[in-house]
């Protein structure tokens, strides 16, 4: 691949990470902490956050998203489903004028990431109740962790080898994306067509954690656990503070994923800025034209929600004949199920009234993974059959059923 083409791809990808992680913190998960997990649900949302933190923060989030979209469009042609990624590089170079704008945007992203980290420090880490909640057993699982690392075992979203560490933090395996089938297998349950990937070398032992269970997690927390650090200075400093505060590696607390996500936000912004300021970023040589059809390939990147595997086979004309994908959320399917169950068992104790806030705290176990079940459950031809059975809580008799086939 042309080196500048590769740099442009990585720059676009990191800018995307900034907007994606920002959206999750401020709009999807942040309200739980900034407003409080048991606060009025009518106010536990982005509007409540704005009222509490200030109107300007809402505008800053929207501006950051718009700027990131502008950067992505400059490189990718459009912001959703960019069209620049071609075998051998990208479809077009950027101009010096576009570069200047990208330098400005990414510098602002770094400042915004620092501000967000400060907000997290004040609101979450400055509140002992939240720190206790993060560390509590109801939100803890000791699993394996997966993440892409560079040659120095630093977190990398775009390229590298897949590293897996155990519940004790020791490296279990490190492999190239093309070898994923030798390391991963998929468990199935009759009630879902979303599979449960697990580590082949350890084996499927059910929905349990521990060293003997092949259940692994691939998330911001997992990436930090599976690495030896961050490749940019500000993120590295936060990485060190993360483990110092939470008692060393690995961290098993699911809710610490939010903090890990902000460490990654800082890294993504710093890395994007590094690439935008590299003199080679405006090199017009952005693509090496392929000379033949390879016939089969595996691509692996770190999606915001976990390791993303794409495996394609083609015929002699390059037309796709077979596809296998493991998307971010799919990796975490077993762990998400376990986290929900454990949070529910820990928080719903007999005889106590079940309040909305308690149910929300159980949801928090789910939200920490920033799951996208849409991505994880796409099927052809796009139908989503669904069957719901409602049972009496004591007799277990079926009260009602509903079904749809589209």
């Amino acid at each position: 691949m042309a080196p500048t083409g590769r740099m442009l791809r990585e720059l676009l990808y990191n800018a995307f990470y900034v907007t994606d992680h920002t959206t999750h913190f401020y709009i999807l998960a942040g309200p739980d902490f900034i407003m409080g997990p048991e606060s009025d649900p009518a106010k536990r949302n982005i509007l409540g956050v704005i009222n509490k933190v200030g109107l300007e923060i809402g505008g800053a989030v929207i501006k950051l998203r718009a700027d990131a979209a502008e950067l992505i469009s400059m490189i990718g042609g459009k912001q959703i489903h960019p069209v620049m990624g071609l075998p051998g590089g990208v479809s077009q170079a950027i101009t010096a004028e576009q570069r200047d704008r990208m330098v400005q945007i990414t510098a602002e992203q770094v400042e915004f990431a620092k501000f967000t980290m400060g907000l997290f420090n004040d609101v979450v880490l400055g509140n002992n109740d939240y720190v206790d909640l993060i560390k509590s057993d109801a939100f803890t699982h000791e699993t394996y962790y997966m993440g892409l690392v560079d040659e120095n075992n630093k977190v990398n979203f775009y390229d590298g080898k897949v590293r897996v560490v155990g519940p004790d933090g020791a490296e279990l395996e490190k492999f190239e994306g093309k070898d994923y089938l030798a390391h991963l297998a998929e468990h199935v349950e009759p009630y879902s067509y979303l599979v449960y990937p697990y580590l082949k070398s350890v084996g499927w032992k059910g929905f349990v954690d521990g060293k003997d269970s092949g259940v692994y997690r691939a998330s911001p927390l997992s990436r930090l656990n599976a690495s030896d650090g961050m490749a940019t200075p500000l993120a590295q400093a936060e990485y060190e503070r993360f483990y110092e505060t939470l008692g060393g590696k690995p961290v098993h607390a699911t809710l610490a994923t939010h903090w890990a996500r902000l460490v990654e936000l800082l890294y993504a912004a710093e890395r994007a800025h590094e690439l935008a300021t590299d003199p080679d970023i405006i090199n017009p040589d952005v693509r090496n034209i392929p000379t033949g059809i390879v016939g089969e390939g595996v691509g692996v990147v770190e999606a915001p929600r976990g390791t993303l595997y794409h495996h394609y086979k083609t015929d002699e004309k390059g037309m796709v004949t077979a596809v296998n994908l493991i998307v971010g959320t799919t990796n975490n399917n077993a762990a998400i199920s376990m986290s929900l169950k454990k949070a529910a068992e820990g928080l719903l104790t007999g005889g106590k009234e079940i309040k909305e806030g308690t149910l929300n705290m159980i949801e928090m176990a789910f939200r920490a993974y920033d799951p996208c079940f849409g991505c994880a459950t796409h099927t052809l031809p796009g139908e989503m059959p669904l069957q719901i059975t409602v049972r009496n809580e004591t007799t277990h008799d079926v009260v009602a059923t509903a079904q749809r086939n589209m």
Binding site: Q79, I80, H81, P381
Partner: protein, 131 residues
């Protein structure tokens, strides 16, 4: 087409719509719809009919109504009026570059209706009567 109208083709949804519609006085959205109606059927909906909420499970659950309310709460320059023209789709699961026959047949009428609305500033009489 009036001179102060801007036409944009976009694939975005959710929060990204906010970045697209801010700063305009009126926005007309054209989209495909599957509602069980006859393929090619045109409907005109007011954006207020798309109610959202502010409790999100994922970025994909941020709807048009939510986005518009969020923009207003943030004090952004939001359009005073957002209308949605929908065309009942025949098939949204088969990839292709052509419109299906009934949808292609509706395209001309859709352009006339929207042109009428932009010229007069009000809902076309034929659709007003239907709704």
């Amino acid at each position: 087409m009036p001179q102060d109208v801007e036409v944009a083709e976009s694939e975005v949804g959710g929060l990204r719509l906010l970045e697209l519609v801010r700063g305009f006085t009126k926005v007309v959205i054209i989209d495909a719809l599957r509602s069980g109606g006859a393929p090619g059927e045109i409907k005109r909906l007011d954006a207020d009919e798309f109610r959202g909420g502010h409790r999100y499970g994922s970025a994909h659950s941020i709807h048009l109504g939510t986005v518009l309310e969020l923009g207003r709460e943030l004090g952004l320059p939001m359009p005073a009026e957002v209308v949605v023209y929908t065309v009942e789709a025949l098939d949204v699961e088969t990839f292709g570059e052509q419109l299906s026959e009934p949808v292609a047949a509706a395209a001309g009428r859709l352009v006339d209706l929207i042109g009428d609305e932009l010229a007069t500033g009000v809902c076309p009489a034929s659709l007003a009567a239907a709704s």
